[in-house]
């Protein structure tokens, strides 16, 4: 099989060009170190927007009137409607969901915080208004190392206090027909960490992003390597042989996939050395390497497409940098971007950034490395990664074959 010879040739070229190889492996490591030191103990400033609400409130009947009340629903509506002062902008984008989904959204940072309203929420408020010493606890859950959670939690605590003051006083006034000066504390809030995130820093969220950034950057090296084959004429030599496009491109892809796997392992090691709190066992490394390799194949495919249009290896490197660096931002490797949902697929919101396979690679890596998730937690992301990578790979083969592996027109 010719692609094995091409793979062997590409691997030898990669390994024997030690300076090039060191550059490929060290450059992302440098980024990892910089980000590690920069964000290891610092937060980032971001507006809180997304809130997951889990309402377990059973409701209760108002004594005297017999009216059925559910303050859980009412509080959820308040959260949905509340706006910034002197502004029409709502403070929260509320997603009413269940606990499992909320945890998932928190892990993916699609929600900044989750509010869990307990079963006795209405009952406790009514009891408190009636004069009994009853309290209910609303849990505010999230990744305590995430600055957006801190902001959301602060706002929520304030809203909750104000809500209970006004609500309980109103009910008491209705029940006693007299104005109320002070009310007892009916609602307490409790901050709860998302399991596994108790001592997180922003770097724990950034480290998988750095790994994905390194994987995306492979497109730059692949594009220059392939363009060099064109520029030096070695591709013409191969074109004259019986080699098929598939042999060349698939053969080249194999060693680059190993480089992607090496990137994941090396960068994970470096990240751990500078404080990344890796969750999960060896299984999570295996899963991270697996998604890393698929992401690497996507990068090789992107490299092929870039190499189809570049005139020389320097132009290929420049063009690839222009494409890959902004794309790394779009995947959310460095910071969370505003949510732009464009579709709903299999009951899951599909954001515009998810059209890039690396976004799914990143989500999957965060799930396994940062949150210690398993295969079932990343199956959806891996599925998307495979589909999008396959599309990109076939597009790469098609475009490269047409532009580079046919006789020149």
């Amino acid at each position: 099989m010719k692609f094995i010879s091409i793979a062997s040739k590409a691997a030898k070229e990669l390994l024997r060009d030690r300076r090039g190889l060191i550059m490929i492996l060290l450059f992302p490591m440098f980024f990892m170190l910089v980000f590690g030191f920069a964000f290891g103990g610092m937060g980032q400033q971001d507006e809180p927007h997304n809130l997951a609400v889990i309402n377990y409130d059973q409701g209760a009947t108002l004594p005297g009137t017999g009216e059925n009340l559910n303050f859980g629903n009412n509080f959820t509506q308040v959260l949905k409607d509340i706006k910034y002062q002197d502004s029409n902008v709502k403070i929260f984008n509320v997603n009413q969901t269940n606990l499992n989904d909320a945890n998932q959204l928190l892990k993916q940072r699609k929600a900044d915080a989750a509010v869990i309203i307990p079963e006795n929420f209405t009952q406790s408020i009514l009891s408190s208004a009636s004069g009994s010493n009853s309290t209910t606890t609303v849990i505010i859950r999230g990744d305590t190392g995430y600055i957006n959670f801190g902001v959301s939690q602060g706002i929520l605590t304030g809203i909750l206090g104000q809500y209970q003051d006004e609500l309980v006083a109103g009910i008491k006034s209705q029940l006693t027909r007299t104005p109320v000066q002070r009310v007892s504390k009916a609602i307490e809030s409790k901050v709860e960490s998302l399991p596994g995130t108790e001592s997180f820093t922003n770097f724990d969220f950034l480290a998988p992003g750095m790994i994905v950034f390194a994987i995306i950057l492979l497109a730059t090296t692949v594009a220059s390597t392939l363009t060099r084959e064109v520029d030096r004429g070695t591709l013409s030599r191969l074109k004259l042989s019986k080699m098929r496009s598939f042999d060349f491109l698939f053969g080249n892809m194999i060693p680059w996939s190993f480089i992607a796997a090496a990137q994941v392992i090396i960068l994970l090691g470096v990240a751990m050395l500078i404080g990344f709190k890796w969750q999960g066992g060896l299984n999570s490394i295996f899963l991270a390497v697996l998604v890393g390799v698929i992401g690497g194949i996507a990068s090789v495919s992107l490299g092929m497409i870039i190499a189809s249009f570049a005139r020389n290896d320097r132009q290929a490197a420049n063009l690839a940098t222009i494409i890959t660096v902004p794309m790394s931002f779009l995947t959310g490797a460095f910071f969370q971007l505003p949510h732009v949902i464009v579709a709903n697929i299999m009951g899951q919101p599909f954001e515009i950034y998810e059209i890039l396979p690396w976004t799914h690679v990143l989500n999957a890596m965060r799930t396994v490395l940062t949150f210690g998730g398993g295969w079932s937690d990343i199956a959806y992301q891996v599925g998307w990664t495979i589909v999008l990578t396959a599309l990109l790979f076939f597009a790469g083969i098609l475009i490269f074959s047409r532009t580079r592996l046919q006789p020149e027109s």
């Binding site: 070229e13 074109k239 042989s241």
Partner: protein, 313 residues
């Protein structure tokens, strides 16, 4: 089996407004060394790229064994490009095995061929040295070996002597002769080196500005401008060149006369014996000779006679 292995019919290639090859009609015989002679930029490499199927012609076609180039078995042609087209980080042995595999040659067979080629081209000692560490001459020989590993019927050598030292050039020339005489290959040789074309080619096509100017054996080409010698002279007053040329043309003893870059070249058999008549004609025109030399007729003179210019390099 036809006498001709390659035929180009009205082969034309344009790059924008520039016509690199203009209606080239050629027939290359089986088993010959066919020289493609012309200055840099004459259209040799473009013609070759079309003949091996790397470049689509704007119009016209190339037939290999009577079949259109697009339908021909890829392994029938081997090309040794003008540039060194090698993988720097592979060894010669690895490079040859890789190319052998790309042509579908079984492993054992391609290893044998690689060893033989390395031996024939004096590269056995460097079989396991990475290409980047080879000398220029060694790289050039490996460049040639890469074109031969699949044992093609037609071998195209594009400026193979470019940058070679005399020793490597001798090895290369001997090998080209070996390819024709012992292996029965058809060799197409593009060169701008007159002596290379003269010594190696059975027939030569002279091409310039994309057009075929002449196609014949080296001897016949040289005979065309007069067998024998060239009297190369420079007059003290070059404005009289035309007058002197007109006068010299009256001489029955000479074959032809032409002006080349301000100098007058007189072609004649045994020119030394005819020098008195030639000099007398010049003096009769009232001009003095500033510089004069007599030398043997070469392909360069054929080229100069055909194009009116020297090679552009």
């Amino acid at each position: 089996m036809s006498e001709y292995i390659i035929e180009s019919q009205d082969l034309t290639r344009d790059f924008g407004d520039f016509r690199a090859v203009d209606k080239l009609n050629l027939k290359i015989k089986r088993g010959e060394v066919f020289g493609f002679l012309g200055p840099n930029g004459a259209g040799k490499t473009t013609s070759i790229r079309m003949m091996v199927g790397l470049l689509h012609p704007t119009s016209g076609k190339v037939l290999i064994n009577g079949q259109n180039i697009n339908e021909v078995e890829k392994a029938s042609i081997g090309i040794c490009p003008q540039e060194l087209v090698l993988w720097d980080n592979l060894t010669p042995n690895e490079s040859l095995n890789l190319m052998g595999d790309m042509y579908g040659i079984p492993k054992k067979e391609r290893q044998m061929r690689a060893e033989k080629l390395l031996s024939d081209l004096f590269l056995t000692d460097k079989a396991k040295t990475q290409v980047k560490d080879l000398s220029g001459g060694m790289k050039r020989r490996l460049n040639l070996a890469m074109a031969l590993v699949h044992e093609p019927e037609i071998v195209v050598l594009d400026e193979p002597s470019e940058g070679l030292d005399p020793q490597s050039r001798r090895v290369l020339w001997n090998y080209i002769r070996f390819l024709r005489d012992d292996d029965g290959k058809t060799v197409i040789l593009t060169t701008h080196l007159m002596d290379e074309a003269d010594k190696l080619s059975d027939r030569i096509a002279i091409i310039d500005h994309g057009k075929l100017l002449r196609l014949d054996t080296p001897d016949n080409l040289k005979k065309e401008i007069g067998e024998g010698d060239v009297v190369d002279m420079k007059l003290s007053d070059q404005s009289k060149n035309e007058t002197v040329i007109a006068a010299l043309k009256d001489l029955d003893e000479i074959d032809s006369v032409s002006e080349i870059q301000g100098r007058i070249n007189v072609y004649a058999l045994d020119a030394v014996g005819k020098l008195p008549q030639i000099m007398s004609k010049v003096e009769d025109s009232g001009v003095k000779i500033a510089d004069l030399s007599v030398r043997q007729n070469t392909l360069e003179d054929v080229f100069l006679d055909l194009t009116g210019t020297t090679l552009r390099e």
